[in-house]
Symmetry: D2
Subunit: 146 residues, 4 copies
């Protein structure tokens, strides 16, 4: 199902107390924050942390997000999140995230975010070559082909 | 365009300092928090605040969310959010939100959330009659017809 | 007790669902966020919103905060917060906040924040005259006297 | 300076994108959230995660907090936080936290929180013996002596 060429990274983290709500599980908005953490660690794993992308003048604001919430996770639950990335066209990136309980793999949430590629002035630009390189590994492999 | 029978509520609020990020606009996750505020005020406007729903044993966890981010809004921007609600089938509710700059109506974000209907034990239940009543006003009007 | 000359502003707001935690009341960190809201609205009430302070090149990062948490407030509680401000010396501002239930005045939390006064380069500067003017009303009244 | 008998735990974490604000550093309220993370990991390090404390019917709401903010930390900064705990009397616990840049040890923030000890009904109770045991290691060592 998953193309081996798609860059992927998995990390573990725990639900913070303040991330729960009075229903006793994580509050939905924090999933978007966690997804950002996943993108951050995936970019580091690819060899160029996202903070460095911004220093190079490339910004990736989220323009669209879709989330499905499939299971509860109270305070201190050890979660496991897998993040993948793929270009969608020449001016967008798409990150996919899947969050499960680390021990049981019980599903918690999954979704994707779509990102514009902006320069320092906030103008849309094409994906720089060094980004495509990071994601596609230089090859013209499937995840990067249009 | 908008069916007059769909319950709708509009409120204004400002972007908090802590809701911005280092790109100088609101951080995306807060939109999900704002959408919850919209649902809260719509339920109060319909005559039965959501806190009362929970006291009656009805819980509405978000099971799906879709968001589009269409414009910036830095600290202290006065925003205007319109929220509507409609049943989707007998066991789901859908809320729609649209957020714009209060003064210029410049678009900021819009999206929807889909909610399960659970009882105190966390079991899915059908929409209680008093909820359909609140939303459909007793009539079998379009937003509530299947 | 309270000097009539001290600028003061009171606002009301509700506890958001995502601001609660699994203990069923607001999570403590949000009080710092609420206190910022109080400073924002006090500055607007004084005639010059804080966003304008930053446009003039004056930044007020918090350098110290003290908080006491005295009572619960679950989701949707209508709270009332009073904020006051006073200079402390020539290079610091102090804001005080008190949060109670709007209807019963039952105490929820109170505290203060102390702020450095920085210019655009992040260097500490003396309180500009226009800030002292805003706070002390031009007079050499007590809250501003050293 | 630091009594060897005081339970202490150090952890590392990164500043999330959404934890920054438009000044380009972490927003102050998140320090209270981080301090909670420190307490969580210290309790796990002591052998009984705080989630288990609540399952045993002991709750530790924060009743007081003091924070000093001493340095900036933008997105993705690797931080190091050290947390210690000590009883203060028979009905309060005090946690201390110090946050620095992991690499340079440049100071970021430090402070403490004081916690009530409540039972399931929200009534104040004395520190249970098993808590004193965890913290004082069974000995009547200094951090636990009155």
């Amino acid at each position: 199902m998953k193309d081996a060429a798609v860059p992927s990274h998995t990390l573990q983290f725990r639900v913070r107390y303040g991330e729960t709500d009075q229903m006793g599980s994580y509050f939905n908005a924090h999933v978007l924050t966690w997804m950002e953490m996943g993108r951050t660690e995936l970019s580091r794993h690819l060899g160029l942390p996202y903070a460095e992308w911004e220093r190079r003048g490339i910004y990736l604001p989220v323009v669209e997000a879709h989330l499905k919430f499939s299971g509860r996770a109270p305070y201190d639950t050890l979660l496991e999140m897998t993040t993948t990335v793929e270009p969608t066209g020449y001016v967008r990136l798409r990150f996919n995230n899947r969050i499960v309980w680390a021990e049981t793999k019980a599903p918690v949430a999954h979704g994707y975010t779509i990102h514009a590629v902006l320069n320092r002035e906030g103008k849309p630009v094409r994906l720089p070559d060094w980004v495509r390189q990071l994601i596609c590994g230089g090859s013209d492999s499937r995840p990067c082909a249009e």
